[in-house]
């Protein structure tokens, strides 16, 4: 059985950790199911080092304990910067998805739906 790698993007993690965020409840639902499948050995949860570095160790070892770090290098950043057609944050995420062979993304944005990646969407019900 091959593990599915799921990248949690910046917006998803922000919504997950911020109870005031409009997508908080939806992201909690998606994350709960992801944690379940992580525990069952079906999913591998990852997030970019540029995103995780913003959170203190307590959060990373608590709420984000199952999430492994995918390291962003200068080369990745350089490639992302060279992509003009999308905004930088989205470009970096796309570069990392491609280079690290990650097949799914948990996000609060619809932007990824036009790319070849499985999208686990967590949006506010009335958004």
């Amino acid at each position: 059985m091959k593990l599915r790698s799921v990248l949690l993007d910046r917006g998803f993690i922000t919504a997950l950790l911020d109870p005031a965020d409009r997508a908080h409840t939806a992201s909690l639902g998606v994350y709960g199911a992801l944690v379940e499948s992580y525990q069952a050995g079906e999913d591998r949860l990852v997030a970019l080092s540029t995103v995780l570095s913003q959170y203190p160790n307590g959060v990373r070892k608590g709420a984000l304990a199952p999430v492994a770090t995918t390291w962003v290098s200068r080369r990745h950043l350089a490639v992302a910067t060279s992509i003009d057609s999308v905004r930088p944050e989205l470009a970096l995420t796309l570069v990392m998805l491609r280079r690290e062979g990650i097949g799914a993304i948990a996000t609060t944005l619809h932007d990824f739906e036009r790319f070849d990646v499985e999208v686990l969407l967590a949006t506010a019900v009335n958004s």
Partner: protein, 323 residues
């Protein structure tokens, strides 16, 4: 999305590597000494890391150090076995085999039925090739995982290192003579089973693998001759298929893969390289290593998941949200 320019370079170099390796194999035989194997694996891995970020190289350096320490400890265990001076087990393994096979010596039985000194049958070649895979399959698995999936490599090497460690302890604590030594009339004086021949290399010679035979015989001269229990040949023959088994979907292919360790053990017994119990202990150690690490990894996942649920106030059993 720009394509990684190093991707094509790596592919081209991998192709050159495979061609060069095959050429060397045909011309000189298989590489089996540890240094040459380490160099060839090292080249393969360096190719796989070309163009990767510096952090990957740092991880690679750490991994290589651990890998080298593992094999150095394994090599050193031969010296430790000599110095430790634990009593040599002469009859124990034979007695267990006789108990398992109702008084028959499986090595002797197989050779009396199938071994003909002047003739090399098809099954001699099959047995030789099976024996020879011991020097290839684990190394290929380690090298490929190293390059393609580091997380899986860590899972593999944890189990592998545990198996090697426990085996080395057993080599030191219970040095055991193999069947060919137990039957040897010229060099040793045990003679606890009827005469058997250690004819492992006949199939290789018939297949034209003379380079391998030369290297293998030299390796035997340096090896620990009384390291019969456990049989690492049998253990590795189970280890590699068992690791990849969850990825195989076909039940028939799974069954076929699991026949391989049985074939390996039968070959070892036929060649008088090992007692049956050596192989069974090897299988058991593989099982224990896999069980222990599966338990440990499940525990780690459970603890992390619980920590996450606690922090976010999620219920212990997640809501059935479809993702």
């Amino acid at each position: 999305m720009p394509i990684d320019p190093w991707y094509r370079i790596r592919l081209a170099l991998f192709a050159s590597y495979v061609v060069g390796y095959l050429w060397f194999f045909i011309a000189e035989g298989l590489i089996i000494d540890r240094i040459s194997v380490a160099i060839s694996v090292g080249i393969f891995i360096v190719i796989g890391h070309l163009g990767r970020p510096l952090r990957n190289w740092a991880t690679l350096t750490r991994d290589i150090s651990c890998y080298c320490v593992m094999w150095l400890c394994y090599e050193q265990s031969r010296g430790w076995a000599d110095r430790a001076g634990f009593p040599l087990q002469v009859e124990a393994a034979r007695n267990v085999d006789r108990f398992l096979f109702a008084g028959t010596d499986p090595n002797v039985w197989l050779q009396r039925r199938y071994y003909e000194p002047g003739t090399i049958h098809w099954y001699d070649k099959v047995a030789s090739v099976t024996y020879f895979t011991h020097f290839v399959f684990p190394v290929i698995a380690i090298a490929v995982l190293w390059v393609t999936d580091h997380r899986e490599w860590v899972r593999f090497i944890r189990r592998f290192a545990t198996l090697l460690f426990v085996s080395c302890v057993m080599f030191v604590v219970i040095p055991t003579i193999p069947p060919w030594m137990a039957a040897d009339r010229r060099k040793y004086d045990y003679q606890i089973i009827a005469p058997v021949t250690r004819h492992t290399a006949r199939g290789f010679r018939e297949l034209g693998m003379k380079g391998f035979v030369k290297g293998w015989q030299s390796a035997l001269d340096w090896g620990n001759a009384v390291a019969a229990i456990p049989s690492l040949h049998s253990a590795f023959a189970l280890f590699v298929p068992a690791f990849f088994l969850p990825r195989v979907k076909s039940v028939w292919l799974k069954a076929l893969l699991l026949c391989f360790p049985v074939l390996m053990l039968t070959s070892l017994v036929y060649f008088a390289e090992h007692w049956v119990i050596d192989g069974l202990v090897g299988f058991a150690l593989v099982g224990l290593s896999f069980w222990f690490w599966a338990w440990f990894e499940r525990r780690q996942s459970r603890l992390r998941a619980e920590s996450s649920r606690r922090a976010l106030g999620l219920p212990a059993e997640a809501d059935p949200v479809s993702v």
